[in-house]
């Protein structure tokens, strides 16, 4: 099942909503979600509001997205994470690459 996503009204910001589990099984869905050529977005928001479970391949997927979009996108944000998930992002020092809100 594809991931839910939405563009801001000016089309500059893409928000991707991750589900309860963010692991390697989402590799394709996640890539499809951010490889959207219909709009020239310059900002990506990953909404982890629903995410309870995350493994290290999810971290890899986020970094891979960062790398493949860095020519086009200037702002990467991870928002609304659960405390437990935030801890994992902190351990992985993700604040260096993403703005974690």
């Amino acid at each position: 099942m594809s991931l839910e996503k939405e563009f801001s009204t000016d089309g500059k910001q893409l928000t991707i909503f991750i589900e309860e589990k963010f692991d390697f099984s989402k590799v394709q869905d996640f890539r499809i979600a951010y490889n959207d050529q219909t709009k020239k977005f310059t900002s990506v928001v990953i909404n982890l509001q629903k995410t309870e479970y995350m493994d290290s391949s999810a971290l890899g997927m986020l970094l891979n997205m960062h790398r493949s979009l860095s020519d086009q996108v200037t702002s990467f944000k991870i928002v609304k994470c659960r405390p437990q998930v935030l801890k994992i992002l902190q351990i992985a020092r993700f604040d260096k690459k993403f703005e974690i809100l």
């Binding site: 309860e20 589990k21 692991d23 390697f24 099984s25 590799v27 394709q28 890539r31 509001q49 629903k50 309870e52 479970y53 995350m54 493994d55 290290s56 391949s57 971290l59 890899g60 997927m61 970094l63 891979n64 790398r67 493949s68 928002v79 609304k80 659960r82 405390p83 437990q84 998930v85 801890k87 994992i88 351990i91 992985a92 020092r93 690459k97 809100l101």
Partner: protein
């Protein structure tokens, strides 16, 4: 119809009883004087008394009030029958408690008509008393039931003592039951949740929905779920339970362990206000959703607002009932009215606000339940968690052959088993990260013999997962064993995973996360989440100790 005839003259009694029998009143008793009448009346409980005035021992004037008293609340008609014709004597008949009089010689038709009329009044009186009894019976049983329900509510809506000092709230129901509700509960991750809302209507019918909400909220808080997940569950539950015209406007808030990160879901409630110490309103959490119990699960939106506040900021919430409070002229208080109070007196607590509401109302009748909640952002002390974790040590061993490895993900089920059965809520996320890391390493690098370095490039990254799937689909042999030991004394889980792969050299592993590669992040992360990591068996067995 039982009639008591009281007269000292036997002939008179005979004439009266005879006349009564002619009229169909066959259940008649006779007494010779007042005293005898009283004794008899105690036994036979007459429906009507025909009473002579002048008698020996006890006359009619004396016995009449005594007979009346004996009859209690039910109307006992007393008709005096007398030869005395002076007006004063007849008037006295009525004064002592008689209801009517007939003079001798009596007119049969008139007397019979009077008896019928008084009998009607008596039966009306009996009916009234019966109905009164029924009414008070029902009132008592309703009262008793209300008491039971109140007791249940008091227990279900109890606030944890450690939260009482942190969150300030006040509720005033308009009736004996509250259609508003307020709940708060600690979260296993060190923060806490609160919920307040307003069921359509008020009174018992509105309050009844509070029970399932309270129960679900408590369970979900213990598990440390996100408020978006909570709202989804509550919505689905209420949609199923409540009649169509009833729903639940609510605000759910989660304060994380820092005490100042605020997550809010507001469905159909007035704005919740965040006011800083200087008195400025820095943020309003407006309603962005429909109330709970209206939308089908597929239409439901659980998007939350997140805000990072400062210590000292005050989060102020209130129910509809507050906004809609009216003064004597019928003018509503409105959101703006409350805001002006807060701006004028930024330190006002819930009781100050409640007093202002009372003054504003000026004694006019309140129509809706009222709830006020204030949380002042502060550093949270760790809540003493009454963890109901099992005290029995145990082991779970999973032996997965290549069939089971190919079939879907055993980890989610293992985590569910460990956390829900043992009461180890709150560690589910970290435990998932740890076990899935170990398991995926065993599969990827052990059983499937894949090299992480493939993930170094963008295309390689996806190539890696494609190759993984392909190898997995064609897997003809291989095993992974998972052994989880729970040691309640040390409060740890010891997790050991072995695979049938050829192992690796643990010394070659990267030790930190301080790099940008989209691989090699797993083990450094494990070493932060676990007390210890130990490889053995030439790298094909790994054992970690996970502190609960």
């Amino acid at each position: 119809m039982r009639i008591l005839v009281v007269d000292d003259d036997a002939l008179n009694r005979f004439l009266l009883v005879h006349m009564l029998e002619q009229q169909g009143y066959v259940d008649c008793y006779e007494a010779e004087n007042g005293f005898e009448a009283l004794t008899l009346a105690k036994r036979i409980k007459p429906d009507l008394v025909l009473l002579d005035i002048v008698m020996p021992v006890m006359d009619g004037y004396e016995v009449a009030p005594l007979l009346k008293a004996l009859a209690g609340d039910v109307y006992l008609p007393i008709i005096f029958i007398s030869a005395i014709e002076d007006e004063e004597a007849l008037a006295r008949c009525l004064e002592v408690g008689g209801d009517d009089f007939v003079t001798k010689p009596f007119d049969k038709i008139i007397l019979a008509a009077k008896i019928r009329a008084h009998a009607r009044t008596r039966s009306l009186s009996k009916k009234t008393i019966e109905q009164n009894q029924q009414l008070s019976f029902y009132r008592n049983s309703v009262e008793r039931e209300h008491k039971i329900v109140e007791h249940i509510f008091a227990n279900a809506l109890k606030v944890q003592p450690e939260l009482r000092d942190i969150i300030d709230f006040v509720m005033q129901p308009a009736g004996s039951f509250n259609g508003d509700m307020f709940l708060c509960h600690t979260s296993p991750s060190g923060g806490f949740y609160f919920l307040f809302g307003d069921f359509t209507g008020h009174g018992l019918a509105a309050a009844i929905g509070a029970l399932p909400v309270a129960k679900a909220f408590q369970t979900m808080s213990n598990k440390g779920l996100s408020i978006s997940e909570m709202t989804e569950t509550l919505n689905a539950t209420l949609l199923e339970l409540l009649p169509d015209e009833m729903f639940f406007a609510a605000i759910l808030v989660e304060i994380n362990s820092s005490g100042k990160q605020i997550d809010v879901w507001n469905g159909g409630m007035p704005d919740m206000i965040l006011q800083n110490e200087g008195g400025h309103i820095v943020k309003k959490f407006s309603s962005k959703h429909m109330a709970l119990g209206i939308l089908e699960p597929n239409e439901f939106e659980c998007e939350i607002d997140r805000f990072d506040a400062q210590y000292g900021d005050r989060l102020i919430g209130f129910s509809d009932g507050v906004v809609e409070v009216c003064d004597l002229a019928g003018k509503m208080l409105t959101d703006a009215g409350i805001e002006s109070w807060l701006l004028a007196d930024p330190q006002s607590d819930v009781h100050t606000l409640l007093n202002k509401i009372d003054v504003y109302e000026g004694g006019s009748e309140r129509k809706d339940d009222i709830t006020l909640v204030i949380y002042t952002c502060q550093e949270l002390k760790p809540f003493s968690h009454v963890q109901l974790a099992s005290q029995l040590p145990f082991k779970i061993e999973l032996c997965l052959d290549h069939h089971l490895i190919k079939a879907q993900d055993p980890i989610a089920e293992l985590i569910r088993l460990l956390t829900s059965q043992l009461g180890l809520y709150g560690i589910h996320s970290a435990l998932f990260t740890v076990i899935s890391e170990l398991y995926n390493n065993a599969i990827d690098h052990g059983v499937l013999d894949l090299d992480s370095k493939l993930k170094a490039t963008n295309e390689g990254f996806f190539q890696y997962f494609a190759t993984r799937q392909e190898k997995l689909d064609n897997l003809a042999s291989g095993t992974v064993n998972i052994l989880v030991q729970y040691l309640p004394q040390d409060n740890v889980l010891v997790i050991q995973i072995s695979d049938s792969g050829k192992g690796f050299d643990p010394a070659s592993l990267k030790k930190t996360c301080e790099h940008d590669d989209s691989f090699g992040r797993g083990l450094p992360m494990l070493s932060e989440l676990c007390q210890s990591i130990e490889h053995s068996n030439g790298g094909s067995t790994v054992k970690v100790v996970f502190k609960i």
